[in-house]
Every structure is written in C-alpha cells, then in structure tokens.
C-alpha cells in the first residue's frame, strides 16, 4: 500500500510542476488477483500490480490529457509536460468552464484487510469446494474468483484533495451437465460477505433443474426476471440516458420527458454512491463527493447525473458521477438502486398462468437508444411456468424489446434485492416480454 500521504504528495508534486492555468492529477494504484476455473480445474491464475497517473491540464479553455503507469519523478514530470503540451496545441472548448472546486468528501470504510490479503491458496481452496459441489450433482464447474485492492487519489490546482482505498471480491460461476446450465455470482468489498459454497449450490441446483431443455416458439410471454437479468435492463438504462451528456446531446430517452411518466409507477430508480448496500466510494475521479440522485421516481423521469463539465455547462453543480479518463463519454450512474416491492420469486411464479423464468441475459446490445430497444439471449437457466409452477427447462431464446415499455408493464417486484457490480436490484414479473428467436440449446 502506498498510503494517503504518499499518494497525495506525489500528486501535489505533479500539480506544482504544471505550467497550465488549471491542473488535475489522479493516481490509481493497486493489485488484482484472479483464479479462473473450467471443466472443474483451475486453468488460469493471475496476479498483477499496476498503477496509473493521469493529468488533465487546462490552458484557458484548451485541455490536454496524458497518462502513464511509471511513478518515478522524471516520468511524473514528463506526463505533466505532455498534458500541458497537448493543451497548448489543442483548440478552445467553449463548453469548458472549470475543474471542480473543493467540497468536503465523507470518509467511508471501503477497505478490508482480509480481502486484500486473500491468497492464491485461499482462492484455490474456495474453488476446490465449489468444484466438489458441482461433482456432487454430476456437473462441471466453471467460473472465476477474484480479489484485490485499489488506492485512488486526486488533487487539483483549485484545492480538491481526495484519497480512498477500497477492496473488491468477485465470484462468478456456471455449472453445466447433461445440457443443463446454472449461474450464480457474488460481489462485495469484503470477501467474508459471501460464501462461495452457497453460490456453488445455487448454480449447481439450477444446472440440474435445467437439464434436457425443450424448445418453445418465440412470441410474447409474461416473464419472471431474476435479479441477474433485471440488472442488465437497469444498466442499459443508465448507459443509454441517465447521464447529463446523453441529454445534452439529445440522444437520451429522458430528453423532453422530465416530469413525465416513462415507466409504470411501481418503478423507482436512484443512484447512491455512499449506500453500503451497494459498492460505495466517497467521491468520483474528479474528487467530487458522491450525491444521491433520484433518477426515476414512481415512473416519472426526474433527474440525471453530472460531472463537472456537464454541470458547469448548465450552471449546475456536479453530482459526483465523473467516470474518469478524458471525459469524452460523460458522467454515468454506477451505484444504481431499484426500489424493492413486496413480492417474492415464488409468489411471482405462483401468480403466472403461462410464462418464462429468465435467470440471466447474454450479449445484450442496443438496437434503438431513444426507444431503449435492446436485444440479447437468455442463458444458464430458462424455464417454462405453467399454471403457477415451473414445468420444464427451455432452450435459450432471443429477445428484442424496449426496456421502458417492459418497465411500464411490471406487475410484481420482489422484497429481496441483489448486489451486483453496478446496481442493486430486485426480481420482477413483467407482462408480454418479446421473445423474437430461438437457438439450438
């Protein structure tokens, strides 16, 4: 670990040697480790130690940006010089107002020593236990278990100064056998928050239930979407239109709709980077503290998130949603929450006369951003529901549907939510989901 003082001192040195009018320097440094398994064997096992210093230099309204992973004084000076040189040669960007001004950043606990120190032997032991669960049901195990830490610091010439250390642990598994596949994942800033064996049992059980899947004709079906599938819809909403740049460029589904209903009133979605139920962090890469933003409230388009560039352009304050880099892609909500309901997956199944339960989606992509039409496949556990019961596993289906339209037709939402990389979401039951194709497995 570099530690707060050394990290900030390195960035202050960078700022001091800059000839620009305004300068921002960020540092990310850490270790990441990942053990991958497939066919019930570990086939890939990696570890890396890496860092990046990024410098944004502003001369008037001309901006330059440069990065390096070399941390010696000479390299830091060189990366500052490069950013300044690029700013000098750039054109004026009239929309640029300023780097962000300092604001108090809260202190939150995002670092767990056990997660940082989790060893290759620890990971191998956990994977061995998961493989044993797969064998118990005659399945083959695949997946990955990763852990690591990252220190992030930012300093700018207007007085912003922020530092945070966080840890991360992430587990994904697919169990397969006799044509059946089952999925589970877990993520947390503390590896002790989840039990790899419990995740293995979830995936193994689902893989057994999905053996010998049968084909079904595509068409409109009521669906029960597990949180693994719901998160895909919510993430695409965030990506397509819940950032200010998408609105400013006129390509967001929120354009012209603020204050109007865009989904059913059961749907409320917000972003809260400080909520410990998600994966919190105190500030964004510009050092702006994370603000809660209510994005969709009872189905009504309410607000989008900002970084300093998009906020100052509108005379507003950043909500702490810069995503780093040169900023060309604009701000994004990355700690999204969807309000839970009062139902359960069991109740959703019991209330369905004929429908399909989807565990997760695969390779989803956008067809029409404003209409929020996306397409993708089902994967790793797709089941037919008839007369309130799961009756058989199904071959995977392709869907092509509008996210907003489907969220306008949600009948039930689960009480329980699940934490995933970008969002914490419940399961939902929705009417008339559009399946447009089938595959052979």
């Amino acid at each position: 670990m570099l530690g707060r003082n050394r990290a900030l001192a390195m960035l202050h040195r960078a700022i001091e040697c800059s000839a620009a009018d305004m300068t921002q320097a960020t540092l990310d440094i850490g270790e990441s480790n990942l053990t991958r398994f497939a066919n019930s064997m570990i086939h890939q096992n990696v570890s890396e130690r890496n860092a990046q210093i990024a410098v944004k230099a502003a001369i008037g309204k001309r901006i330059g940006y440069a990065t390096t992973n070399r941390l010696d004084d000479q390299s830091v000076e060189a990366v500052v010089s490069k950013a300044v040189e690029f700013a000098r040669h750039s054109q004026e960007n009239p929309d640029f107002v300023s780097l962000p001004a300092p604001k108090p950043v809260p202190t939150i606990d995002t670092y767990d020593e056990r997660t940082a120190a989790y060893s290759p032997e620890d990971r191998a032991g956990a994977v061995a236990g998961m493989i044993a669960e797969a064998r118990r049901v005659g399945a083959s195990a695949a997946g990955s278990l990763s852990n690591g830490y990252q220190e992030s610091a930012v300093v700018n010439s207007l007085g912003v100064e922020a530092y945070n250390a966080l840890t991360m642990a992430d587990l994904t598994t697919v169990m397969s056998g006799d044509g059946g596949h089952g999925y589970a994942d877990r993520i947390s800033q503390r590896i002790g928050d989840f039990d790899p064996i419990e995740a293995a049992v979830e995936a193994a059980t689902r893989s057994v239930r999905s053996r010998s899947p049968e084909p079904i004709e595509p068409g409109e079906y009521d669906v029960v979407l597990l949180p693994y599938a719901v998160v895909e819809l919510v993430e695409f909403l965030a990506y397509l239109g819940l950032g200010a740049l998408a609105v400013q460029e006129g390509r967001s589904f929120m354009c012209g709709k603020f204050g109007q209903r865009i989904t059913g009133e059961k749907i409320t979605i917000w972003d809260d980077g400080l909520d410990p139920r998600g994966l919190p962090r105190p500030s964004d890469p510009e050092g702006v503290p994370k603000q809660r933003v209510d994005l969709i409230v009872n189905g009504v388009a309410n607000a989008v998130v900002y970084d300093s560039y998009t906020a100052y352009k509108e005379g507003k304050e950043s909500t702490g949603h810069a995503i780093g880099g040169a900023g060309a892609y604009g701000p994004m909500p990355v700690n999204v929450f969807m309000r839970p309901g009062g139902s359960s997956v069991e109740e959703m199944i019991a209330s369905t006369k004929k429908g399909i339960l989807v565990t997760r989606f695969h390779y989803t992509n956008v067809i029409h951003p404003v209409l929020t039409v996306i397409t993708g496949m089902t994967r790793d556990g797709t089941f037919l529901i008839e007369n309130g019961k799961i009756t058989k596993p199904l071959r995977n289906l392709r869907f092509t549907d509008s996210i907003l339209e489907r969220l306008s037709n949600v009948e039930l939402i689960s009480r329980e939510t699940k934490r995933q990389a970008w969002a914490v979401v419940p399961a939902i039951k929705a009417r008339a989901f559009r399946f447009t194709g089938v595959t052979e497995f």
């Binding site: 990696v46 890496n50 397409t375 052979e440």
Partner: protein
C-alpha cells in the same frame, strides 16, 4: 533487457517450474477526439511492465508488475510459481505444450509516415475539417471524429531458448454524424462505425480515408434516415457491405473457432462453441464458395504479427475450405490436445494479461462477382451497410445484427432507404445460403480494435478481410415498434 529476462527465467527454473516465459511490453498511445467543433479529448498514454507465465506442478501461474527492475522481477517470478502451485492444489490434467522451434531476432512492421511524428495541429485540422462539413447539415446534432495511434514494443523470452523483439505501429480513424429529431436518433459513419477503420500502418492509412470528402455525404444520409421508414419484417435476399460482413465473420466464425472456447475455458463468461472437435473436417459451415482463413501474416492487418505471445511464428491457417470447417485458432496447449502444432494465435493485451487464443486476421476469400452485379442479379432483397449493433448466443449460433442503413433492392436496383435495419439467423444456415462474393477489387482488410474476451477482460485488435457478399432467405426487420410509438 536480456539480463532481466535471463534473471526471470533463471528464477523460475530454480523454483522448479517446468516451463516459463516473460514478456516485457512498452506501449505508447495517442488519441484525438473532436466533437461538434471542439477538441474533446487529446490524450497521450504510456504503459510499461512485464508478465511472467510459468508451468509448475503441471499447472499455470502468471504474475505481472509495472516495475521493470531486477528485484521486482525476482519477486514476481516467485509469485508466478507460487500461484501455479496453488492452481495445482485442485485436481487437474498436467499442462502439455505442442512443440515449437525456438526463435531469436528483432522484427518491426514498416510504416510510411510515423503517426507520432505528425504534428498534433495537422491531425486536429484534418478532424476539424470533417467535423465542420458534417455540421453543415442542420439535422446533425452530434458530429464526432477521432484518430487513434498505438505503438507496442514487446520482448518475449522463454525457458526453451526463444528471445524475440517485435515493434508494431497501428493507426486508425473515423467520423460519425448523428442526426436527432423528435424521439428519433440516427447515425452514419465513415469508413466504418465504432471509431472507424484500423491497420498496422502509419499516418498514410488515415490520409487515404478521405474523411473530409465523405463528411457531407454521411451527414446527409443520417438526416435522411430520420424520415426513412422502418425496415420491414420479411425473409429476403440480403447483401452485406464489407464492414458489416467483417463483423459477421468476427462473431459467427472468429469466436467459435477459438479452441479454448471449444474446450470450455470461457464457459462462465463469453461462452463455448458449436464447432466441437467432432465437426472438424466434416461439418458444412457454409456454401461451396465460402473459404475462410486465419492469416496472421496479412500485410497491414490489425491482427498481424511476426510471432504470437508464446513465441509461435505467424501463420496462414485454413478455417473453412469450400464450405467445410477444417481448422481452429490454436495455442500450444490446445493444439497438443488435437495432436497438432500450434497455429500461433496466443495474444495478450499488454504485459499484465496472460495470452489467450485470439483472432488474428480472419479473412473471407474473394469471389468473382462485383457488388453492382450482385444487386443487378437480385430480384427482391435488401442491401445493408455498416454495423449498428450485434448480439449472438453463447455457442455462436443465433445472431442478430443491426446496421446503420439499408436499401430496398427491387428488380436489380437499389430503392427505398430504411432506418433501424436488423437481420437474424443461425450461423451455419446463414453461411450455407451465401451464393455470391465480390472479387479482389472490392476486398478490404478491416481492422477491429475492440474485441473483448477473458477475465480480466482483454481488448484485442484483430482484422477481417472481406468483400461484399450475398445471402439468400434471411429474416430481416426484427425490431417491432413499441406500443404507441411510430417508428
């Protein structure tokens, strides 16, 4: 650097590894982003480090670090061996590698104009000129243009005795005009969507694109799309333009022939493959005119190299011959399982990533038609251009692609323009219905800089050489209008 690589290899031998290699990689990148007359991003990146890969107790271990110094190399070598031994705690088949001749030497791709030596102002001007021309069309609300350059210097050394130095310079650029109206967003790009076209070449490659010369055309087409009707739902003959066909090959041929996917090692993430080994030399992948090769030797190819990242020389490998599936992209480990030599497709996205089987240049051999002849020969069909979006199942069978634009073909002529075109199919049925491929004059080696695979994810630069081609009986127009919306 040779003293450092020797130190690493000595250390892993001393710790009992049966195999070890080290890659020291230095990468310099530059990108320029222009949007609506403003330089939105002017970025320079340098990245350097090393990765050590070993086999110990029959299992793989890998560790990497940014600090290319003797003490750190010793620490990382020890960590790689420790990780391999941890892998071996779980029951496994010992890793065996197909043999390879050791190699030594220095290799560099030729470029006519070093892109890093071209003044920044000159590059910005070229983009701003195109930007201005796009924004002359009032419906264009977002005009984007970009250039990207990258130079990668790699040193590879192995315990088997290879020591290989390679330098590769890449250049790419593209422009994109987005027209916006009430509830509708449409875009057109040049020379390809998603940041344009890329090659292992110098600045001359960017100059040849004539970005400014195509700016007004794509802006007008994007504006026209706002008023164009929705692509109809139908089953028709489909003719694909080159950059769209490049992505079709990428998704429906390039990925399923990766032998690590076939053997299940991507099962939990990207998926597996329908092209299982029992289909090798037997399965009809496409019609008789479909011939596909994996060619890492193609001049200027974004997926070209001299040696892959485990020291295997670049090769041209048959994948589909006269419509029959005959070959895979392989590594030393996976080729050994088929009793073959490696085809040389192990590539790593930088020093901190382990090599995986990746595409090289997956190319469709040219045919003997022209695009015009294909259109003239088509009674009722659809001509579709440039990638809109893509999706395919985890065995690479059921695909659905959207294109930026399509045109009706009626009695051999192009007609009505359509917005939001989509087409869908099953891979081998689609290629089985390929009945015409344009010739060498219209064949182009496209560069795709955004192929994702693996955990941690690795983004690879790959190539696809194609000429426009025709496919019969394709389902088109999958997107339906959401309730209450007029699309």
């Amino acid at each position: 650097m040779r003293d450092l690589t020797e130190k690493a290899l000595e250390k892993v031998r001393e710790l009992g590894a049966s195999y070890g290699d080290i890659r020291i990689v230095r990468r310099t990148s530059e990108s320029i982003e222009v949007k609506n007359g403003k330089v939105e991003g002017l970025t320079s990146e340098t990245d350097e480090g090393f990765g050590i890969r070993v086999i110990a107790d029959g299992s793989w271990g890998f560790a990497g670090s940014l600090t290319v110094e003797p003490d750190e190399i010793e620490r990382v070598a020890g960590l790689a061996v420790r990780i391999a031994r941890a892998s071996a705690q779980v029951a496994h088949e010992p890793v065996k590698l197909a043999p390879v001749e050791t190699a030594e030497g220095s290799f560099e791709f030729d470029v006519q104009k070093d892109p890093f030596e071209i003044p920044i102002e000159e590059k910005i001007k070229l983009l701003l000129d195109a930007d201005r021309l796009m924004r002359q069309i009032p419906e264009i609300k977002v005009a984007r243009s970009s250039m990207n350059f990258r130079r990668t210097e790699t040193i590879f050394a192995s315990t088997e005795g290879s020591y290989i130095e390679q330098i590769k310079t890449e250049s790419g650029a593209g422009i994109e005009a987005t027209a916006v109206a009430e509830g509708e967003v449409q875009k057109r790009s040049h020379p390809a969507s998603f940041r344009g076209d890329f090659a292992a070449a110098g600045y001359e490659f960017v100059e040849a694109m004539d970005l400014a010369g195509n700016a007004e055309r794509i802006a007008k087409e994007a504006a026209q799309l706002l008023k164009a009707p929705q692509c109809p739902s139908d089953v028709r003959t489909l003719i694909l333009e080159g950059s769209m066909l490049a992505l079709q090959i990428h998704e429906s041929c390039g990925h399923p022939i990766e032998l690590d996917r076939v053997f299940g090692t991507e099962a939990s993430y990207a998926g597996t493959s329908f092209l299982t080994p029992d289909k090798l030399d037997d399965f009809r992948y496409g019609s008789d005119i479909v011939n596909i090769v994996a060619d890492a030797t193609a001049p200027g190819g974004l997926g070209s190299f001299f040696f892959d990242d485990e020291g295997v020389p670049a090769q041209r490998v048959d994948i589909v011959k006269d419509g029959v599936f005959v070959g895979y992209l392989t590594s030393r480990e996976t080729a050994e399982k088929l009793g073959r030599r490696s085809g040389g497709a192990m590539r790593a996205d930088g020093w901190n990533r382990i090599p995986l089987i990746r595409m090289t240049n997956i190319n469709l051999d040219p045919g003997d038609w022209t695009l015009d002849e294909m259109i003239e020969d088509t009674e009722r069909g659809l001509y579709a251009e440039m990638v809109g979006s893509w999706s395919i199942d985890d065995k690479r069978l059921n695909f659905q692609f959207a294109t930026e634009v399509a045109y009706d073909i009626e009695d051999g002529s192009l007609g009505q323009m359509y917005k939001n075109p989509t087409y869908t199919g099953i891979t081998y049925e689609f290629w089985g219905n390929c009945d015409a491929i344009a010739g060498e004059d219209e064949w182009h080696l496209w560069g795709l800089p955004n192929c994702g695979k693996g955990e941690p994810v690795q983004t690879m630069h790959v190539g696809h050489g194609v000429a426009p081609a025709r496919f019969r009986n394709v389902r088109i127009g999958v997107m339906e209008a959401p309730e209450g919306e007029d699309v």
